[in-house]
């Protein structure tokens, strides 16, 4: 156990924990100190991650190891996958924090909100940097615990009910993971993540066992990743404040599940082993079904946030689909979607939050003509929607291109069919929104309604929205440039840019 600079991943996690503790200790008052703490913590974390990135570029490695139980260590390390997820979440944490400060200006319980918000990010960083499944599990469960108070934040009966549903799903998912973990531990001991998988030597004679373990893990991660049929908590959790939805969907919970699936396939089983056991087909099939199913249900939602939620159900499964398809191209597609979907979806949620806060707009019908009232937000929303649909040259297109190419290369043309269908469905539920924004007349009632957000608060909400929209745009436009998420993922997977 060393606490030197190799333990940087630990400090990255601890920054958010300490921020959370300080915010709790500070209490409800002293808003400025809290804001300073929030931003300070987020910036410091981002700086540390940048440092780690640079160090990793020059060949350094980071690892913190601490024995928790005999034969089981808490391991925090930083590989490329870690850095991808960590950078994304640190960046989005900063932006979401700014947004949330504006969003929750007048509402009660801000200390509690920001405390658990930070804790949630800490857990996400832990999930990102976990060096073995045991550590992953610890932070994965911590994430459940830290997000529950955010889901029930408003304390209304609907919020409490949504929280109950969320827990029922995630805790049972956690139990499945735990059983899988115990089983795996009895079989293989507490082995660390290894690129290409650590279980290959054990495969002979244990096929059925390994299959069962994989399914347990897949279900455990699938709950958070909102894989069919474990997704129904996600739309209900929309009762939470918009920054929470943004965080749940773009950065933390859903992504942690998807990230777990990536780790499971790539670093625990290894793609080859998973394929030889027929497990990737299973995962790909489930993911593809979820992609279509989520889109179909999104069509039927008249509540804006619920429509976005079902869109998430659909889009996140691209990640699993890509990883399960295998091959360099599809893997690139899946992994890069981790970033692309995050940026795009957070833009959409910020916009939805702006509409709700600014004009009290919650349902799809109320969007008519809002392009005039809230032009900046509406432009960002349009960009996000186009990105989701996958209109070239936006981020979603890049993802789908690689996924499609990968599917072709792997000889799985049905996946292309799924992609096409999904794109059509995406267009079917997003384009009407864009149409309403820009081409429908603004009703009189809406034209007369005062904007509820003004001045500094306006900037705190719209500023971050512009930033994430711009990032989503740039990630697509400059996908081929060094430094882009795509470039990064390509280097990680080992393909040629």
């Amino acid at each position: 156990m060393t606490f030197g600079w190799q333990a940087l991943p630990l400090y990255v996690v601890l920054i958010s924990v300490v921020t959370a503790m300080l915010i709790f200790a500070l209490g409800e008052g002293r808003q400025h100190v809290r804001t300073a703490l929030n931003l300070g913590g987020a910036i410091l974390k981002l700086v540390l991650i940048m440092l780690m990135l640079l160090a990793i570029q020059s060949g350094a490695s980071f690892e913190f190891r601490m024995p928790l139980l005999p034969g089981l260590d808490l391991v925090l390390h930083a590989d490329r996958l870690t850095m991808l997820f960590a950078t994304l979440s640190a960046l989005l944490w900063l932006i979401t924090t700014v947004y949330a400060i504006g969003y929750l200006e007048q509402s009660p319980n801000r200390a509690r909100f920001f405390g658990f918000f930070s804790l949630c990010v800490a857990a996400t960083m832990g999930v990102a940097s976990a060096g073995n499944l045991f550590t992953f599990f610890i932070f994965y469960e911590l994430l459940t615990l830290a997000t529950w108070p955010l889901v029930v934040h408003r304390g209304t009966p609907e919020a409490v009910a949504a929280g109950r549903l969320y827990l029922a799903y995630t805790l049972i998912g956690g139990v499945l993971l735990l059983i899988g973990l115990i089983w795996l531990h009895a079989l293989a001991g507490g082995s660390d993540f290894i690129v290409g998988g650590s279980l290959a030597p054990l495969a002979a004679g244990n096929e059925t066992t390994l299959r069962a373990i994989f399914v347990l893990f897949m279900l455990g991660f699938g709950v958070k990743a909102a894989l069919l049929p474990l997704h129904s908590w996600l739309p209900r959790a929309m009762v939470a404040p918009a920054p929470v939805s943004a965080l749940l969907h773009a950065v933390a919970v859903v992504k942690a599940g998807a990230f777990g699936l990536v780790r499971l396939v790539q670093d625990v089983f290894g793609f080859d082993l998973a394929t030889s056991l027929g497990l990737t087909d299973l995962l790909a099939g489930l993911a593809a079904t979820t992609v279509i199913y989520g889109s179909v249900l999104a069509l039927r939602q008249s509540d804006l946030k619920r429509r976005l939620a079902f869109s998430t159900v659909s889009q996140v499964s691209y990640i699993a689909l890509g990883v399960a398809t295998g091959g360099v191209l599809a893997t690139i597609g899946g992994l890069v979607h981790l970033v692309h979907q995050g940026l795009t979806k957070i833009t959409l949620f910020f916009c939805a939050g702006n509409y709700a806060e600014g004009l009290g707009v919650h349902s799809v019908e109320e969007l008519d003509g809002l392009g005039q009232r809230m032009p900046v937000t509406s432009v960002c929303f349009t960009l996000g929607a186009f990105g989701m649909i996958g209109i070239p040259p936006l981020a979603g297109f890049v993802t789908k291109w690689y996924l499609g190419a990968g599917a072709a290369a792997s000889g799985a043309p049905w996946i292309i069919a799924v992609l096409v269908a999904s794109t059509l469905l995406n267009a079917a539920y997003f384009l009407p929104l864009v149409h309403r924004l820009w081409f429908r007349p603004l009703p009189d009632a809406m034209a007369k309604r005062e904007l509820a957000i003004t001045g500094g608060r306006m900037q705190a909400l719209v500023g971050p929205t512009i930033v994430v929209a711009a990032m989503a745009l740039l990630a697509g436009l400059f996908a081929g440039t060094p430094g882009s998420p795509l470039f990064w993922v390509i280097r990680m997977v080992g393909g040629e840019p």
Binding site: P108, L145, W148, V152, G155, I172, V175
Partner: protein, 488 residues
């Protein structure tokens, strides 16, 4: 001079109790500080001695066993003694506010509290079956008046029921002791084993059955738990904490001692561990369901104790190093977490004036620290990471998995889901608010309230920290593993 530390653990609280009987404020203070604050220092020294020299005996009065009475200290005893010192100490600090020396309540409270502390320390150190009977009676007769201090009709009734059943339990235990003395000619827990191996028969087996029955009743093991929920729920907060965290554990501790140390490995009564495990699994499920159905916070926590005791029995047939670590860690983390919950519940009850779950809305504003303590402790009770409870549950699951005990495994999983359900039910009740736009209450927490909450929080944080500090603790505990369990 480690033997002096051993003596001090029993006699400092005992003499402290004597001092606290005297009428002056200073004598009570001196008794409490001398009897409680000294314990961690004594234990630290004792722990070092045990790490260095291993377990050892202390012969009282110089009369060697089997004639005299011995004390025995080993890692298991140390663990329990540490819990008495830490949990009892923090609970005492919490009680200081309500039972100030110089008040009539304080004058009645502290002698009993100190006697209870001395009795538990004596019990964890005793190596003599009859002496243990005396210790058990002292624990009972010191604990029950503390319940009755709450003064409510429910508390008095619960105290009465507890007393009657505890007396019955002691008698049944004593009956077993009588038969064992007759069969072996000794009362020493550790000398008895040879005699049993030589002259054991159906009579001694039944003697152990009687002892088990008595202890199961005292330990409120399902289905003999009927006295526990009301007794633990109606006592004053710090008393509830100590009852659930420590007092019921005395009986479980004795079951461990007798089954894992005294009873010869080949004795047919070893088969009773299977029964214990069944009872433990049943307790886990039954207690969890009942906790889920309660309408009062303290009753939820009390039924949770009924459930959590199940873990401690469930581990008995698993007989492995991992199982041993699981048992030790469950003892520790349940103690910390449960005491934290009861202290927090006491604060909430004090602030809100009711502990009905229906009355607890907006606790996050009314008693934020106590609710937070409740939540942190709840994490450990549910066995979710990061917490001591999680490590304990992990070890239990691992031990059960290794032995292929699928039913126990299923009970464990179901039990922890039930725990999650009742803990989150409490928390949801506390976060509820009827009107989301309602302005913040100006009602801040008083300095006293903050301090009382801090004690609950301290224990809850310790339960959480236990999730990271297992390695050194398990190192010590491993050295005290019972003989039959160390085989791979």
């Amino acid at each position: 001079m480690p033997s002096e530390f051993l003596i001090g653990l029993i006699f400092l609280p005992l003499l402290g109790a004597c001092l606290a009987v005297l009428p002056w404020r200073w004598s009570i203070r001196l008794g409490v500080f001398g009897g409680l604050a000294s314990l961690p220092a004594l234990l630290a020294a004792l722990t070092l001695a045990v790490i260095r020299d291993g377990a050892w005996y202390y012969t009282l009065g110089g009369w060697t066993a089997p004639l005299g009475i011995r004390l025995f200290v080993d890692p298991l005893a140390l663990l329990m003694l540490w819990m008495v010192a830490i949990i009892g100490g923090v609970a005492a600090a919490h009680a200081w506010h309500d039972f100030r020396p110089g008040t009539p309540a304080g004058a009645r409270f502290w002698p009993l509290w100190l006697l209870l502390t001395a009795a538990m320390n004596a019990l964890f150190l005793s190596a003599d079956l009859f002496n243990l009977y005396v210790c058990l009676e002292l624990v009972t007769l010191a604990a029950i008046p503390l319940i009755a201090m709450a003064g409510t009709a429910t508390a008095i009734r619960a105290a009465m029921r507890y007393l009657l059943l505890a007396l019955l339990a002691s008698l049944v235990y004593l009956l077993g002791v009588a038969l064992l003395y007759n069969a072996t000619g000794t009362l020493d827990l550790y000398l008895m084993t040879d005699g049993l191996a030589a002259s054991g028969g159906p009579a001694t087996s039944l003697a152990f059955a009687l002892i088990a029955a008595g202890l199961l009743l005292k330990g409120a093991v399902f289905p003999l738990h009927v006295w526990l929920p009301n007794a633990h729920a109606s006592a004053p907060g710090p008393v509830s904490a100590v009852l659930s965290a420590l007092v019921v554990k005395t009986a479980i501790y004795l079951i461990y001692r007798i089954w894992l140390w005294t009873l010869p490995a080949e004795d047919p009564m070893q088969g009773a561990v299977e029964l214990f495990a069944v009872l433990g699994a049943a307790a886990l499920i039954y207690g969890g369901i009942l906790a889920l159905l309660q309408e009062r916070l303290k009753l939820v926590i009390a039924y949770s104790t009924v459930a959590q005791l199940g873990y401690l029995l469930l581990v008995l047939p698993l007989a492995s190093v991992t199982a041993w670590q699981a048992a030790s860690y469950q003892l520790l983390s349940h103690g910390l977490a449960k005491a934290a919950m009861f202290l927090a519940a006491a604060n909430i009850l004090h602030a809100v004036g009711s502990d009905r779950l229906a009355d607890l809305e907006r606790l996050d504003q009314r008693t934020p620290l106590s609710l937070f303590a409740l939540a942190l402790a709840g994490v450990s009770i549910m066995g979710l990471p990061p917490s001591g409870g999680f490590l304990a549950k992990w070890l239990l699951l691992e031990a059960a998995w290794r032995e292929g005990r699928w039913l126990l495994l299923a009970a464990l999983v179901l039990g922890s889901l039930l725990a999650a359900a009742y803990v989150f039910r409490i928390l949801a009740a506390g976060l509820r608010r009827e009107d989301p736009t309602e302005a913040e209450d100006a009602e801040g927490t008083s300095p006293i309230g903050r301090r009382q909450a801090a004690y609950a929080l301290l224990l809850a944080v310790l339960a959480l920290v236990a999730g990271f500090g297992a390695a050194p603790i398990l190192d010590i505990v491993d050295a005290g593993i019972p003989a039959g369990w160390s085989a791979p």
